[in-house]
Symmetry: C2
């Protein structure tokens, strides 16, 4: 790590005083609650409406309640949270906007599709390490039914799904990041470029996103001088099983062997018996896996260094209908335990 | 200004080494070219398609070309621009995503509706002053026809417009911000909270946004100890003529008299004879007014201190159809000339 410099190579930054993730919380839907990590989320919803009159309102409530939950864990009142970085998949990020309306925390809206948690982590860490804030919240949400009807088909229609299709996670993850405190730290981040190799099949998003993930992972290693062995786990957001294999193979071809330390939140979150085809997706996927099982395991020192690679497909229904291919992005964030701690 | 502290009050921040806006560029559509500031934009398009096959593709091209233009002005190659903060109004911010795909600059997508330029300025200044980047670009775009058909009616339908309706600006503004150099500097920023007083009329967005603008302006003065007289101009993004009057009246009622120094980019950009009813709107509105007439006038020292108050209405067609009111936000950014300069 170059002393005194916060920028490394073309795309990466180091944090001089790595911001601390002191608290995290997650709320998930029924399907996610039945998955292999179901017991590790804070709150499993019994249904998709969460007492609201529409799925969209339920999605906003999910995010709002996750923020309240993480603030309680952090023993902070909402007005002690200085700024809220948040986003979701819905048009005009209404879930985040409506959550922010109730929370009354100064709000910066992000759109990075399913990479939003990694984007928020990278930006949040810059705002803390830059000295602008002492404590902030990063929150992300997605909902299976709102995403399906916005991007694909009304779920009532029961359209057949392809083997490469992924299942949008119903879930909301939120974390508190502070300048000081105990917990895993954000030590470095690599901001991704938009990569589009011409994939236009919206039923195979993992294949579309895999080259962007590989591009960012390789940039991260090039910029930081770290190799895959540096990390206990390199975990992508929502490539799904085919996309993950494809990313590993692209990296391999570019001379970077990721070995056995890679996995994907979309592969982990459901059991193969759950009929989700290629795995989970949606920006809630990496958000709940991070703000639950992954950070819990870091706290337990099962992992000491992870690289979260948030992956996002940046198309809209309009761009797809106009014949465009799918531009994708990935942001990588290094989260590490202090060597001496615990 | 408190020495050594970057945070002021609840919502505001100061920049220790205020980042410099060294270059700016704007591209506008035909209507904006015919307005009172038409000659002051870099490029006035002859039509709305810009050589593309759809308005959406034209919008992405507009942003891409504005970034190339500002990079040329700054004598930077695109790969010397370290990061690109951008957003637009379209679902999943496709204009920004597709522009970023061609530009190949590391990309952070934002969504703040029509407040996006102010959001990008505030965030960009934090990333520069925080020591993470030496030079970055902030770009925003909107297009009359893509916004109309996404948010309202197909323009071919010729739906009647209400007197309180605003006209979405076709235009793209982009600026280069650096740690060093000559130009106006970003000295402070106030990050807004989401405010919703229950307005649900999407044909009167100015009225919906006015309370959010007033909330942020008052927070800015409260946090910084500055008063309206500190600025040569306090300029909101796109309140339009009714919204601007409403904001001034809300401030007045809260004991803050803004006097004659306030204006609104949406009020300025068109001539009343252009049949735009309450004025311009869209995130391109404040972006092109800033990245053209306003920064030009700062360079000419006609203004030395301006407060840009970007205003955004955070609803979607889905939230409106589900009976929700319009949550709004405003971010304020102080831009100042060095006292000794020029």
């Amino acid at each position: 790590m170059p002393q005194g410099s916060k920028k490394a190579g073309q795309q990466s930054i180091y944090f001089e005083n790595p911001p601390v993730i002191t608290n995290w919380a997650s709320i998930v839907g029924p399907m996610e609650g039945q998955g292999p990590y179901g017991r590790e989320f804070d709150w499993v919803l019994e249904d998709y409406l969460f007492g609201e009159q529409s799925w969209e309102k339920a999605e906003a409530k999910m995010l709002r309640e996750t923020v309240k939950l993480v603030a309680r864990k952090a023993q902070l009142s909402l007005d002690q949270v200085e700024v809220f970085l948040a986003g979701d998949l819905l048009n005009q990020i209404i879930s985040a906007n409506f959550a922010a309306r109730e929370l009354k925390i100064p709000f910066l809206g992000l759109y990075g599709a399913c990479s939003t948690m990694a984007e928020g982590l990278a930006l949040g860490a810059m705002l803390i390490d830059g000295g602008f804030y002492q404590r902030l919240a990063v929150g992300v949400t997605s909902h299976h039914h709102t995403a399906e009807r916005q991007f694909r088909y009304p779920t009532e229609q029961g359209a057949q799904r392809l083997p490469s299709s992924q299942w949008t996670v119903t879930g909301s993850g939120c974390l508190i990041m502070r300048r000081d405190g105990a917990g895993p730290r954000v030590t470095a981040a690599t901001v991704g470029k938009v990569v589009d190799l011409g994939q236009s099949d919206v039923n195979d998003m993992g294949a579309a996103m895999a080259p962007a993930a590989a591009d960012t992972v390789i940039a991260h290693f090039r910029d930081t001088g770290r190799g895959p062995d540096y990390y206990d786990l390199i975990i992508t957001g929502d490539l799904g099983k085919y996309g993950l294999a494809l990313m590993a193979s692209v990296c391999q071809k570019m001379g970077c062997c990721l070995g056995q330390r890679i996995s994907d939140c979309g592969v982990l979150i459901y059991d193969p018996s759950q009929d989700v085809h290629a795995g989970g997706s949606g920006c809630g996927c990496s958000a709940v896996m991070l703000c639950g099982p992954l950070l819990d395991r870091m706290q337990a020192r099962e992992y000491n260094r992870i690289l979260l690679v948030g992956t996002g497909a940046l198309m809209s229904t309009t761009s797809s209908l106009q014949g465009e291919t799918i531009p994708c992005i990935a942001h990588a964030v290094a989260i590490e335990n202090e060597p001496g701690e615990g």
